[in-house]
């Protein structure tokens, strides 16, 4: 007698069905993430290839204020010109592919600053962030798809509206690590494939060019130390996902003081650590501020006995208290050996931390929580 074929009951099939659906969903999700990343990288390359004319509105949180402007955009052959207007103020910015040049029509001057070549590490970005397509909309009368980028389980970091036809980013929103919207740009009109004269990317002939900063060449840390003439301190602690991108030489101020700048990236965000040896006049500028409660009065002694008035953050008691709190070279590496306070300036989209060690002036800039910034600073070695 032939054995009867046993047909599984529907209830017994349920786990199999759930597993199959989960498998399909996870593949779909992976494919969707892969597609979103592809759209993002594509938007970067098409922006360099397309010839574009348009108008946009942009806004950015600077300190506690939101600044906004409109700008006429012209782009061709990897070059870009933005002619800004904010109220009665006008200025222009040219990206000629190697430098950023700010045109000041009132002074008929052009200020160039380096446009460092960042090695785009897409693998690093995709390791630290997740991207997903979240919907469709219309910007400047054109259909777009919306892509969001965030740290895994973190708040949104970027939202980008990509033209469905060209892949060009027509709208962008950037959020800081706290999930706060800190800048946004949206095209109001755009035309693709229009001829753009190469003259618009040139500095007008009779204008004065100020180019003090050099070329923004990238160095390894050991070579950077040779270039700047002092041993460059590197942090023992870096926030999760950040890697060294390169070292740069900066010349700043009227005296052309040489600073070493280390730049780190997590693939999308940057962290800059600038350091220079103290020079003449720096001894008068050890922590504190005239604006914030009379640093001048506060310099009561070598270890800063004066009261530090005004806004104070955590731990900001009397100057000189830092030593009792574990300050000094032993505990802090390059941390304030004289018990000097660090100053954190919250600029909205990034924070800057500045302090004076015994020998150096150190500034760290990045979109990081304050404690992370302090941790990086105190790990400099």
């Amino acid at each position: 007698m032939a054995r009867a074929c046993r047909v599984p009951r529907p209830a017994a099939l349920l786990p199999l069905r759930v597993a199959a659906v989960a498998l399909v969903l996870s593949f779909t999700s992976l494919a969707s993430a892969e597609s979103a990343w592809k759209d993002i990288w594509n938007s970067g390359s098409v922006a360099k290839q397309l010839s574009v004319e348009g108008d946009l509105q942009t806004r950015a949180l600077i300190g506690q204020r939101e600044q906004s402007a409109t700008a006429a955009v012209r782009a061709a052959n990897g070059k870009l010109r933005l002619d800004y207007r904010a109220g009665r103020r006008k200025w222009s910015l040219i990206d000629d592919g190697s430098k950023l040049i700010r045109l000041s029509p009132e002074r008929r001057m052009a200020f160039a600053f380096p446009r460092p070549s960042l090695a785009t590490d897409s693998a690093l970005a995709q390791r630290n962030y997740v991207a997903r397509a979240v919907g469709e909309a219309e910007v400047a009368g054109r259909p777009v798809k919306i892509v969001e980028v965030s740290r895994p389980h973190g708040p949104i970091a970027w939202r980008v509206w990509l033209d469905r036809e060209y892949g060009f980013a027509l709208k962008r929103e950037r959020y800081n690590v706290d999930g706060r919207l800190v800048s946004g740009t949206e095209y109001t009109t755009i035309r693709f494939g229009v001829p753009v004269s190469s003259d618009v990317f040139e500095i007008p002939k009779d204008w004065k060019l100020v180019d003090e900063n050099g070329g923004g060449r990238r160095y390894r840390v050991s070579d950077l130390s040779k270039q700047v003439g002092f041993e460059v301190a590197t942090p023992r602690y870096l926030p999760q996902g950040y890697v060294l991108q390169g070292g740069y030489v900066e010349r700043r101020g009227r005296h052309g003081r040489v600073a070493a700048e280390l730049r780190y990236t997590d693939g999308l965000r940057l962290l800059s650590i600038s350091q220079r040896m103290k020079g003449e006049g720096d001894d008068d500028r050890r922590g504190g501020s005239r604006h914030r409660g009379g640093r001048g009065e506060g310099r009561g002694g070598e270890r800063g006995a004066g009261e530090r008035g005004g806004r104070r953050g955590r731990g900001g008691g009397e100057r000189g208290g830092g030593r009792e709190r574990g300050g000094g070279r032993d505990g802090w590496g390059f941390g304030p050996p004289q018990g000097e306070a660090m100053t954190v300036i919250d600029r909205g989209s990034e924070k800057a931390l500045r302090y004076f060690s015994k020998e150096r002036v150190i500034v760290i800039v990045g979109d990081l929580p304050r404690d992370e910034l302090v941790r990086v600073a105190t790990s400099l070695d």
């Binding site: 800048s183 730049r263 922590g287």
Partner: protein, 161 residues
Amino acid sequence: MPECDRIRKQLSYYAVGGVRGGAHARVERHLASCAACRAELTALERTGAIVTSVGPVPAPPGTWEAIRDQILDRPRQAVPRPARRFWRVAIGVAALLIFALAVAFVRPFRAPQPPIAVAVELEADDTDTPATIESHLSAQWSAPLADEAAVGLRLSELGGS
């Protein structure tokens, strides 16, 4: 007979004077009427007299040493004594407490926080911070997902060199 069975269970005690009171009277009455139980008692008394007459006999030489050696050679049993178990638990609890205290009190002091002043505006006499922000922003210009227009707006706020 059931009565005989009950009485015979007590006969060995009765023989050495270990049965008293009402039980003693019951045994006396039964013995008076039962010849079999009297014979049993007589046998018991005779055996007792023989054992008493022999007296203590010294053990053969080396017996106690052999017993002692056997006791010492036997491996100890694995069951921990209650006192040892208590101390093990106590030491474990103490170690946990010390660890918890170390985490609670030592950790905050491991990385001392320097005094930090917080500001939102750049200081007029500070040239280093704006210069670093400027180079940071110009690097951001060419970073993936960069919003060039917003970066340009922010650069202009710094004065552009």
